[in-house]
Amino acid sequence: MSRASIAVEGVSLQFPLYHGNSRSLKKMVVAAASGRLGKDQRHRVVVEALRDLTFSLTSGDRLGLVGSNGAGKTTLLRTLAGIYEPAIGRVRVQGSLNALLDPSLGMNPELTGRENIMLRGLYNGLTKPMLARLEADVAEFAELGDFLDLPVRIYSAGMVVRLGFALATAIKPQILLMDEWFLAGDAAFMEKARLRLEEMVRGADILVLSTHATHIVQSWCTRVLWMDQGRIRADGPPDVVLADYLGPSATPTLAAEPVT
């Protein structure tokens, strides 16, 4: 398989807010009829989620995204995953990609666990024999037993997390994009979940991880992007950027853990 790479060049992304009235057809028609359509479009309320981002990643890169809530970390992950196509700039992604963005990731609560597993496999274009392997793997890891044939909506919260986690980590990509929920409940996850995740991270050519947990960035990442209001505030090796990010008070503890 070819080497994985990600190139982001001058990417900006804006979310138009079609709240309430501005979304309606009536308003558009009225505006067009009174010759105000152009003005309306220019005055459209937009949220600038990403502003002029440029960076590139090659095989072996482990990128950590840090920044406050709303800094654009998740939006950047979604853009790299190809869900949002940028309004300005260029994104080029080479290599198979798996994005762990959302624990329920398109799971339908009305369907049984087994049906959800089948759908996820089909999303990824798996063949029949691979589907069978996926099912066996997820069934074994999630330890749901007979619940696998019952609708997901009757599962306990823990069972849903186990199923979602097992599913999301069963498919091994070259590029792994991961949002923080995978790490957020670290304590609640069983030891084997952590091992499985670490193995997956090691197996990926490129990792992009968005998190607030700086110790995980320290131990997993080789490069850190500090994002602030959709812009890159700092980009560099973890010890340098994190020291800045956390402020002077945190520096001693960071220095105590050298990064390999």
């Binding site: 260029r90 080029r92 198979s96 990609l97 274009g125 980590t169 084997k192 499985r196 193995e199």
Partner: protein
């Protein structure tokens, strides 16, 4: 060890590139790619459509055969009522109504479901990159499965009244294929349009309600008189309905009807494609 990851590699998306402010040619290329990738995932679209039906009737004893049963009950009740109201012979009118009603229900459901084709699977679209065409195929498959359950009623009525359309029925096949193409084009058009403008869906639904009455579904075209019949091809719903219905009634649709059906379909496909090529990259922002 139990935590070992099965080395299952996703089979698609090896190289993806997005450029903003792309040219029309580039937009069309990406839209073609969406359709090709979506068609390649036909097994997913099939499963989604089939699960939609299964889910609707999960836990019920008859399952999807409720579709068949409720259609049968409605057809027999309406058939006798309208035959009296319109002074028609039941043996002649009821088979006509059964066929018209089932085919119309298919068309109407396709139109109204194409409005939610992209807004319904919102959580999927926002969590994985997926060709939008998959959802167009899913909508079509779901409705074809419903139609398949209702065809039983038509066959039943034809058996009871010992009607056999003959080899003419084969002429319905090209009509059905055109329906499939139109359905996909319509989903690409209305799916995106209704996601952007949320008041389009009620508009579409009221248009369909009017269309039901102005199209010869429960009444026969012949009831309109010669002058009325000549004007019927202006109604796109009539042309599209007729290219499938007439052969199944043992008639041959006229060249005017086929010509009009092809013309309207071409218009729909071009419109659907132009809109989809333009809107595709923005769909994720709208839903």
């Amino acid at each position: 060890m139990s935590h070992a990851i099965t080395p299952i590699a996703p089979a698609r998306e090896i190289l993806v590139e997005f450029k903003a402010s792309s040219s029309i040619a580039e937009r069309n290329r990406l839209a073609v790619r969406d359709v090709v990738d979506g068609a390649r995932l036909w097994r997913l679209a099939w499963t989604l459509g089939w699960l939609d039906i299964r889910l609707r009737y999960r836990g019920s004893m008859l399952g999807p055969f409720w579709l068949t049963l409720s259609t049968a009950i409605m057809i027999s009740a309406l058939g006798y009522l309208y035959a009296v109201l319109f002074h028609q012979n039941v043996a002649d009118y009821l088979p006509f109504l059964a066929l018209s009603q089932v085919l119309w229900a298919f068309l109407a459901a396709l139109v109204s479901e194409s409005c939610i084709a992209f807004t319904e699977p919102e959580s999927i679209i926002r969590s994985v990159r997926m060709p939008y065409f998959v959802f167009a195929v899913r909508t079509l498959i779901r409705n074809v499965l419903v139609l398949a359950h209702n065809i039983v009623v038509i066959v039943g009525v034809d058996v009871i009244f010992s009607i056999w359309p003959g080899v003419h029925a084969l002429l319905a096949i090209p009509g059905m294929l055109l329906w499939g193409l139109d359905a996909l084009a319509l989903t690409l058009l209305l799916g995106g349009f209704c996601a952007r403008f949320r008041d389009v869906m009620p508009i579409v639904n009221s248009v369909m309600q009017i269309a039901f009455f102005i199209t010869p579904v429960i009444w026969k075209p012949s009831q309109l008189g010669a002058r009325g019949v000549a004007k019927l091809p202006l109604n796109p719903f009539f042309d599209l309905l007729e290219i499938v219905r007439a052969p199944l009634l043992g008639q041959t649709p006229s060249m005017v009807v086929w010509g009009a059906a092809l013309g309207y379909s071409l218009f729909l496909c071009v419109l659907g494609w132009v809109f989809f090529a333009r809107a595709r990259s923005r769909l994720a922002y709208w839903i």
